[in-house]
Amino acid sequence: MTQYIIRRILQMIPITLGILTLIFSLIHLIPGDPAMQIAGEGARPEDVANVRKALGLDQPLWKQYVTYISNLAHGDLGRSFRTNESVAKEIAARYPATMVLAFGSMLVALLVAFPLGIISAIYRNSWIDNVARFFALIGVSMPSFWFGPLLIIAFAINRQWFPVSGREEGWKSLVLPSITMGLALSAILTRMIRVSLAEELNQLYVTTAVAKGVSRGKAIFRHALKNALIPVITILALQFGSLLTGAIITEQIFSWPGLGRLLIQSITTRDYPQVQASILVIALTYIMVNFISDLLYGVVDPRIKLE
């Protein structure tokens, strides 16, 4: 296990470096003179020069890259053009809100997907199964930026059960955004649980258990379901990345004060240090989650050959 962890960490290093390099190059993809584009039309030459100096664009490319990596190693993500505050500080303030939203959505997805997926697998090819499969297709087709406003109309405007936007009302503020983001994930998980459990129910050990007198319910929940959950855990971890990007959209819909909303605001105001740093944090979070899920997979299933 230790060898596996070390090997995975070593594999992550070149990928992390690749991500850092790609994010570093973003500024240089700006058409024309990046400093002029960022300073905006009608900017004075001295303002353009200041922007160029602030971004380090007056240095040779290799030096810019080395400075960038060195600053990152010291936790320095740069300063916001808009507020002149440390970008890391702004991100640290917003990050927890995005994580709360992501976990809230996962909870919603699990609460929906588990019963639906299990019933669908047990009664496969019945009308319940067809309903669950239809729900799964609707779930992945329905855009969150449509579903969210529909929920707002139904439950925040017409009924006032939940707030329209913001995070001021505690858990109530979390409900509609979590359902919005959780829908697509619940559809994917429902499908996954259904397929995975159906496969396990076909296995000989389940037939043997029932033949030996174990009740069908016990055979399903005590034996088959445990094994069926192994691929589901992996999918859940992989889908966490989709939740992070889904949060960018959901936070816009509900004016949720998270990292996604900060990213879009930064793009609108051309605050490129903030843009770069926000993208970096989201990408690194995704890599870490994948890494943890790889480890979890090995722990949950002892049969997995980690070599």
């Binding site: 990928i15 690749g18 993809l29 087709s141 855009p143 707002i152 990345g241 609108t268 890599i287």
Partner: protein, 278 residues
């Protein structure tokens, strides 16, 4: 023919095919189907609810919503087909090279894929559009850069299996050069899953374009785009709910149709999947 008959018996596939044909028809015949000019503004009647003259109402600038939805299908299809075509061409080429030749080509392509896949969802597309500037062509470019990776990995995996087959060995033994072997013998036998991925990729591209436009990073006004229409819809929730409902329904029907189509194709082309469902 047998496959087509089986496909048409599948309700989901048939429904998906009909929805997709409707989408294509709307895009091709937009000038004939749209009852009004999509950019004509009647500011005195802003946010008007659905009526006989304007079945889906008017938007925040007094433009006919139905006409803008019909014309918006052109943007969606243009982005969808462009992304799928370009991403699949790039992905198939690089995936075939990586899988067939292996070695450094494989390492380079796969490590690039790993790096690009480390950006979840449309994050990379958002990053690219943020620096390149919002426009239809930049959206297509950004989505192509994100999407080719899936095709490359799929084709590479398939090519690794197929290149050891006897007919490929025989072709090489008869003196056929590598490009000929890849194009004539290897690729035709890996194309089925690529077709399914392309169908689902079309749905994904339409959804991604709508998402980027919703965030203000996609198609710019006055070009009608379903995602941008939803941005306006969100601003007027409670005042003009029709602005939030109808463009979103159009996106969902289009994406659902393509997902049904893709699912139907999986059913037809993947025996393992079909076996599990019975």
């Amino acid at each position: 023919m047998k496959t087509l008959k089986r496909l048409l018996k599948n309700f989901a596939f048939t429904a998906g095919l009909l929805l997709t044909l409707l989408l294509v028809l709307a895009a091709l015949a937009a000038p004939l189907l749209a009852p009004h000019d999509p950019n004509h503004q009647d500011t005195g009647r802003r946010l008007e609810a659905p009526s006989q003259n304007h079945p889906l109402g008017l938007d925040d600038l007094g433009r006919d919503v139905l006409s803008r939805i019909v014309y918006g299908s052109r943007v969606s299809l243009r982005v969808g087909f462009s992304v799928v075509l370009l991403a699949s061409l790039i992905g198939i080429t690089l995936g075939a090279i990586a899988g067939y030749f292996g070695g450094w080509a494989d390492v380079l392509v796969m490590r690039t894929c790993d790096i690009l896949l480390s950006f979840p969802g449309i994050l990379l597309a958002i990053a690219l559009v943020a620096v390149l500037g919002p426009s239809l062509n930049n959206v297509i470019l950004a989505l192509v850069i994100s999407a080719w990776v899936g095709y490359a990995r799929l084709v590479r995996g398939q090519v690794l299996k197929v290149r050891e087959m006897e007919y490929v060995t025989a072709a090489r033994a008869m003196g056929a050069k590598s490009p000929r072997v890849i194009i004539l013998h290897v690729l035709p036998n890996v194309i089925n899953p690529v077709i399914v991925m392309a169908t689902l990729g079309l749905a994904g591209a339409i959804l991604s374009e709508a998402a980027l436009s919703f965030l203000g990073l996609g198609v710019q006004p006055p070009t009608p785009s379903w995602g941008a229409m939803l941005t306006a819809g969100r601003r007027y929730l409670g005042l003009a709910n029709h602005l939030a409902i109808f463009p979103g329904a159009a996106i969902m029907l289009a994406v659902m149709g393509l997902n049904f189509l893709g699912d139907g194709l999986i059913d037809a082309l993947d025996p393992k999947y079909r076996k599990l469902m019975r």
